[in-house]
């Protein structure tokens, strides 16, 4: 049963709103991340960030409960895996401590500036990203803490992403799974490649950058780190991910490499923004 007929006024309202939205899209697209729309976003982030922080703190227990309920099966499995890994790690800890000391000496000799040399700011994640088409998270630190667009973001484990936009009190981080994200990585045999995001929950894909060297022999499980070449957006030797698969198509000179990020991007609470910029 019909309730009422659509009036000409409704059509007029819809047309005006559609035009307004299209105008906004056009203005924002032409400004390409700067100008009045960017300022508006920045201001709204500043106004909402205390509310976001409060809501995040208040709803976090509910969120944790829901995450646990939705992932119960995988959490149980993960718990079992972690228990067995813990036993292995306990036996390895003595030898790894000695190896770490040796590695630190080597790094010091090589003058690798990123080891403790880069200033960083710790930030709490106040929004883990609610869009299904945007791989990002929001931190509670902004320009007032020295954060700027383009700075690398890391967590225990390795690279998380890069700062995409920033307001006075918040920063939005583009995760390394975002399809527009790219980072240079070092491959075996002195080769370098570019790892690109392929979307949430999907492995990154590595394109081997042509060199005069032999094609890289990459094996599954191999860790990859940032190359840190000149004008790269990231300092060298930040762990990016572990090779999931490396296959060579018939007739192809370079292997198809997929990489799983080392950091669990779904469960980030604190991250560090490296106050570093490409020279």
């Amino acid at each position: 049963m019909a309730v009422s007929r659509r009036s000409p006024r409704s059509r007029y309202v819809v047309a005006v709103l559609v035009l307004a939205a299209v105008t906004l899209v056009t203005i924002d697209a032409r400004a390409s991340g700067t100008g009045v729309t960017s300022d508006l976003r920045s201001k709204v982030h500043d106004v909402f960030s205390p509310l976001q922080r409060a809501t995040h703190a208040a709803l976090q227990p509910i969120g944790n409960f829901l995450t646990g309920a939705l992932d119960y099966g995988s959490l149980r499995h993960e718990n079992q895996v972690l228990r067995s890994e813990l036993v292995q790690l306990q036996t390895q800890s003595i030898t790894s401590a000695a190896e770490r000391a040796a590695a630190e000496q080597v790094l010091a000799e090589e003058h690798l500036s990123f080891v403790g040399g880069i200033h960083s700011v710790a930030g709490e994640v106040i929004d883990n990203g609610f869009s299904n088409f945007e791989n990002s998270l929001t931190l509670d630190k902004g320009t007032s803490s020295g954060v700027a667009v383009g700075q690398p973001v890391v967590a225990s484990g390795g690279l998380v992403g890069t700062v995409r936009s920033v307001s006075a009190t918040t920063a939005t981080v583009m995760l390394l799974t975002d399809p527009t994200f790219a980072v240079g990585v070092t491959l075996p045999g002195g080769n370098v490649g570019t790892a690109r995001g392929s979307g949430r929950g999907q492995p990154m894909r590595v394109t081997v950058v042509s060199t005069n060297r032999a094609a890289p022999a990459v094996a599954a499980g191999q860790p990859l780190v940032t190359s840190g070449l000149r004008l790269e957006s990231f300092p060298p030797n930040i762990p990016v991910g572990r090779v999931q698969q490396a296959t060579r198509a018939p007739g192809s000179a370079e292997p198809d490499i997929t990489v799983t990020p080392l950091v669990d991007l779904n469960n980030l609470t604190y991250v560090r923004v490296l106050l570093w910029s490409a020279q």
């Binding site: 049963m1 019909a2 309730v3 009422s4 007929r5 659509r6 006024r9 409704s10 309202v13 819809v14 709103l17 559609v18 307004a20 939205a21 299209v22 105008t23 906004l24 899209v25 203005i27 924002d28 697209a29 729309t37 508006l40 976003r41 709204v44 982030h45 909402f48 976001q52 809501t55 995040h56 208040a58 709803l59 976090q60 509910i62 969120g63 829901l66 995450t67 939705l70 929004d127 883990n128 990203g129 609610f130 869009s131 299904n132 088409f133 945007e134 990002s136 929001t138 995409r164 936009s165 583009m174 975002d178 399809p179 527009t180 392929s198 979307g199 949430r200 929950g201 999907q202 779904n266």
Partner: protein, 189 residues
């Protein structure tokens, strides 16, 4: 002060609360990496219970709020999508769709799936090719799972929206017919 100002303020408050809850809990509710979208659900509820005009208005503002929290897509893309979806749901509701107990979850299911496809389609037309970069499988997965989430959340969100919109122009228009009284009763249950 106009008589419809208070309901409008209540709806604005619900939209602000919606975006805060979405940003705080959205990521925790991910199933197979797909999160629900409360803002599109609010637009659909506005169309269902307020008609075409309310659907368009609420869709526009809920989308604009969502846009302000996104950085990879241009401001106005979600506003355009949700406005069209809210208006379409309102138009279908007032002209074609008969009363049913399953109307709210069904409208949420179909409306959300349409919104996901429309968002990516419009984005692609407007040069946002990264939206489709994850592939067709991801798009279908998002459309299906987000639609299921919307169907699940539709009754509480519809109840909340109806309470906020009591006394608004759209609610009075849609609520004026005997047929919609049944709908109101269903949503309040």
């Amino acid at each position: 002060m106009t008589p419809h100002l208070i309901p409008r303020l209540r709806i604005a408050l619900v939209l602000c609360a919606g975006i805060l809850v979405q940003s705080a809990l959205g990521a925790d509710l991910r199933v197979a990496q797909v999160a629900p979208d409360l803002m599109v659900l609010l637009a659909i509820c506005a169309g269902l219970f307020g008609g075409t005009e309310a659907g368009a208005w609420v869709g526009f503002w809920s989308g604009l709020l969502a846009d302000l929290f996104l950085t990879a897509t241009p401001l106005g893309l979600s506003a355009l999508t949700y406005c069209l979806v809210g208006a379409a749901v309102g138009a279908l509701r007032t002209n074609l769709v008969a009363e049913s107990r399953l109307l709210t979850p069904l409208a949420a299911l179909i409306g959300t799936a349409a919104a996901v496809v429309l968002f990516v389609g419009l984005g692609d037309v407007l040069g946002q090719s990264q939206l489709a970069a994850s592939g067709r499988t991801w798009l279908v997965k998002v459309a299906v799972l987000e639609a299921c989430w919307s169907a699940v959340l539709s009754l509480p969100v519809a109840w909340l929206y109806r309470r906020a919109a009591r006394g608004s122009a759209g609610a009075e228009r849609v609520g004026s017919s005997p047929a919609s009284s049944a709908l109101q009763g269903m949503a309040l249950r």
